[in-house]
């Protein structure tokens, strides 16, 4: 049992940093320069990182699985410019995504929002995990049988 606890601890530690869980990017409230360089990107690294994080969550409307960050399509370019302008205008990430959803529909979000229709999508992985863990924990206690064997 002791080893089991070690494993739990190890596993908890081994799970990647919060960014891997799609955690929200830090919203910086500091006064930073909103200047845009010649290349079209923000001069400020914090703002550019925030913009890039947004680009990664938005699907290029005419591509298959590419995000706005990856796509070279004309519409992606204008979306990138649009998002940078919105950031300069002081909108929050949530506002920007909401505006885009109104214009292009929910399918523009690569990260499907949690709502009734996506409840299964978001809970199922953890349910699968629980079921696997349960089977793993209990299968060894009795003679192994096929799932439905009575």
């Amino acid at each position: 049992m002791k080893a089991f606890i070690y494993i739990i601890i190890f596993i908890t530690l081994s799970i990647t940093p919060p960014s891997a869980f799609g955690a929200d990017t830090a919203q910086t409230s500091d006064v930073v320069s909103t200047a845009i360089s010649k290349n079209g990107a923000f001069v400020s690294d914090t703002l550019e990182a925030r913009a890039t994080n947004l680009f990664r969550d938005i699907k290029c409307p005419i591509c298959v699985a590419q995000s706005v960050a990856e796509s070279d399509a004309e519409i992606s370019k204008s979306l990138r410019e649009h998002i940078r302008r919105e950031i300069v205008a002081g909108k929050t990430d949530k506002d920007i995504l909401e505006d885009l959803t109104v214009r292009y529909g929910t399918s523009i979000l690569l990260n499907p929002p949690v709502k009734a229709a996506t409840l299964l999508l978001w809970t199922a992985p953890w349910l699968f995990l629980l079921v696997s863990a349960f089977i793993w924990r209990h299968a060894h206690r009795r003679p192994q049988r096929t799932p439905a064997a009575s």
Binding site: P17, D57, P112
Partner: protein
């Protein structure tokens, strides 16, 4: 004439497949089995002829054949003319069938099952072959001719003109069609036979061979996407990529189930079920790619009739397999007696996690389709979803893989077991510290990420040193180290790439110098020219070292293919062991100006090549295991089956 010869050979192959099934109904089991075996081998020869005919039609650019006219071009280099054979729906289905037939023929050649069982195995394989050949003849015949012969072909999608793509489909298909054999063996065993330790020995080579090819195929696909699609990423969670990942996850789970079965005699029924599911997922992958329900760079043809036919086939394979499993399964398995934290316990947990990840990927891939079919507001399930779900699950799996080697087969893991090996621990700790310091020095990152990376390196080092000092120096011992070491290396590569990557888009004039990712680059300008069957804009970008000397010169291109009117971007990569420096040429920003501005995208991708190194290691590991089990299977078949020991003996890994 090649098309006619091909058509004729294909019909012969169909006859051979029919003959396979018919002969399995002969009363005398020995004759039935021998007849079917011969027919399967004959079918392979017929299909090989058919395939060669199609390749010939492409080589001589016979544009009277519809397929050649719409997918080839007389100016194309010979390699891509040949590769063009499978760069389209019809040709790739024929290749699929050829490889399936190759597996069937070698299965017949290496046959070890009892005649009663092999009769059913051959019948299942024969039926699968019939279904696919009928599909090819009826809905995707590559040999059809045109009434009016065009002077020139329409060319091949330029994105697909790459040597990586030339070998990607054959290897990937050699992966997923191979799972037809475990499927047939599972059905055969359900009807007559038992999923016991002897059976595990027989099935293992047929699991490990396709698994090895699939590993390489998935790796090549990602390698191709990285180099050719020009976004500097290696996995896009494109539905088609997911379709190739799913059979891999299930196949790996099945392999570990068979290992446990071979060692202990338990988990036989689960392995049977996994064999049925794995092949079904391979068919599902083919359905998703070929039916056009998902649009992607891989969808050559969008034809609902084809989709429907593959869907019906999928339902028969899956429904039939599950039906047989349901009615014929045996409820009396061997009890599981090992502790949870023994090596066997960890293996079982690994199977559970592989299946959890597979379930998540499957759900994420199919969910938008289901939502769409239900008429709800369409959604997209993209990379952020999989990063939030599959990635932590993947980390759990790697964590278990790290712990498993330290546990003995049937005794619980203790902390002393881990720290026993001081020497390996010291070396690994040293390597980990070096890794952390180097990353801190070389990449813009915070100390926390560097530490985490160092810790990951430490754990992987621990496993590798432990495995090297403890595993038997045999082919099977090596196969485990290679396969798992490869996964660990790939995981490190993915972590490194995710943590330390950076990208810059710059707008430059010829002669401009700019700094990015601690390097100085000089943009030399762009020259225009003509390649084999395209026109290019080729930029020169020099990379300078600290002293200002030229270290490397990259020439990323933008290509325009007149046949098909497509533009592609050819990235160039400055590669070292610890980082890739990836440059692509973007648009002309100011057309018409004397000294025009060009957009350059520069990606710094630390550790990314470790991913493919890891894939190659895992490929070798699974390959070694396949070879080992092919040998063992021969030995086993010439000897009477050994009785399972009453208790498990601690011994070397097999």
């Amino acid at each position: 004439m090649w098309a006619e010869y091909g058509q004729f050979s294909l019909c012969l192959a169909f006859a051979a497949a029919l003959l396979t099934v018919i002969s399995t109904f002969r009363k005398d089991a020995l004759i039935a089995s021998a007849g079917a075996s011969a027919a399967l081998k004959a079918q392979f020869i017929a299909l090989l002829c058919a395939f060669i005919c199609l390749v010939m039609a492409f080589i001589i650019s016979d544009f009277s054949v519809t397929l050649v006219a719409s997918n080839s071009h007389s100016e194309k280099p010979l390699l891509y003319k040949i590769a063009g054979t499978w760069g389209n729906h019809e040709g790739s289905m024929l290749l699929w069938m050829l490889l399936l037939s190759a597996y069937c023929a070698s299965f017949a050649y290496f046959k070890v099952s009892k005649v009663e069982t092999s009769k059913i195995e051959y019948r299942v394989l024969g039926l699968i072959c019939i279904a696919i050949i009928v599909f090819i003849l009826a809905a995707s015949n590559p040999f059809l001719r045109m009434d009016t012969v065009p002077i020139e072909g329409r060319g091949l999608n330029p994105l697909l003109q790459d040597w990586g793509l030339a070998i990607h489909p054959p290897i990937l298909y050699a992966g997923y069609v191979g799972f037809a054999v475990p499927y047939a063996m599972a059905i055969g065993t359900l009807f007559s036979g038992a999923a016991d330790r002897q059976w595990a020995r027989q099935i293992l080579p047929w699991i490990m061979t396709p698994l090895a090819f699939l590993t390489l195929g998935v790796g090549l696909g990602s390698w191709w996407a990285y180099r050719e699609l020009g976004w500097g990423g290696f996995w896009f969670w494109d539905p088609v990529e997911n379709a190739s990942l799913l059979p891999w996850l299930f196949g790996a789970a099945m392999a570990h189930g068979a290992f446990i079965l071979k060692r202990t005699g338990a988990l036989g029924q689960s392995t049977l079920l996994l064999a049925i599911l794995t092949f079904s997922l391979s068919i599902l992958g083919t359905f998703l790619v070929r039916s056009g329900v998902l649009t992607s760079v891989h969808s050559f043809a969008v034809d609902p009739k084809r989709g429907l036919l593959i869907f019906i086939f999928l339902m028969i394979v899956l429904g039939g397999g599950l039906g047989v499993f349901w009615t014929k399964r045996s409820a009396s398995g061997k009890p599981i007696t090992w502790p949870l934290t023994s090596r066997l316990g960890f293996m079982a947990a690994g199977i559970g996690l592989l299946l959890t990840i597979a379930g998540t990927v499957l759900l994420g891939t199919l969910y938008p389709l289901a939502i769409d079919a239900l008429g709800a507001e369409p959604i997209t399930v993209g990379a952020p979803y999989f990063n939030a779900t599959a990635r932590p699950l993947g980390w759990l799996m790697v964590g278990i893989m790290v712990l498993a080697p330290f546990a003995l087969w049937t005794t619980p893991l203790t902390l002393t077991g881990i720290i026993q090996d001081h020497k390996g621990g010291l070396i690994s700790a040293l390597v980990g510290v070096i890794a952390a310091t180097l990353t801190l020095q070389h990449f813009q990152t915070d100390i926390w990420q560097a530490l985490l990376f160092g810790v990951s390196v430490f754990f992987c080092g621990l496993v590798v040193t432990f495995a090297i000092s403890h595993a038997p120096k045999t082919l099977s011992g090596m196969s485990m180290i290679f396969a798992h070491g490869g996964i660990a290396l790939a995981a490190l590569g993915m972590t490194g790439a995710a943590f330390f990557s950076s990208e810059t888009i710059v707008s430059v004039k010829p002669g401009d110098q700019f700094e990015t990712a601690q390097k100085t680059l000089v943009f030399g300008g762009v020259e225009r020219g003509k390649g084999a069957n395209y026109f290019y804009d080729r930029a020169t970008v020099k990379i300078l070292d600290a002293a200002g000397h030229i270290k490397n010169e990259l020439t990323p291109e933008r290509r325009w293919y007149p046949a098909g009117n497509m533009t592609t971007s050819e990235a160039m990569i400055d590669r070292t062991v610890i980082r890739d420096f990836y440059v692509t040429l973007g648009d002309l920003r100011t057309p018409g100006a004397d000294a025009p501005d060009w957009a350059l995208r520069v990606y710094d991708r630390p550790f990314i090549s470790w991913i493919w190194l890891g894939c190659i290691l895992t490929f070798l590991g699974s390959g070694f295991s396949a070879i080992h089990h092919f040998r063992r299977r021969r030995v086993a078949s010439s000897m009477p089956a050994k009785a399972a020991p009453t208790h498990l003996i601690l011994g070397p890994a097999e």
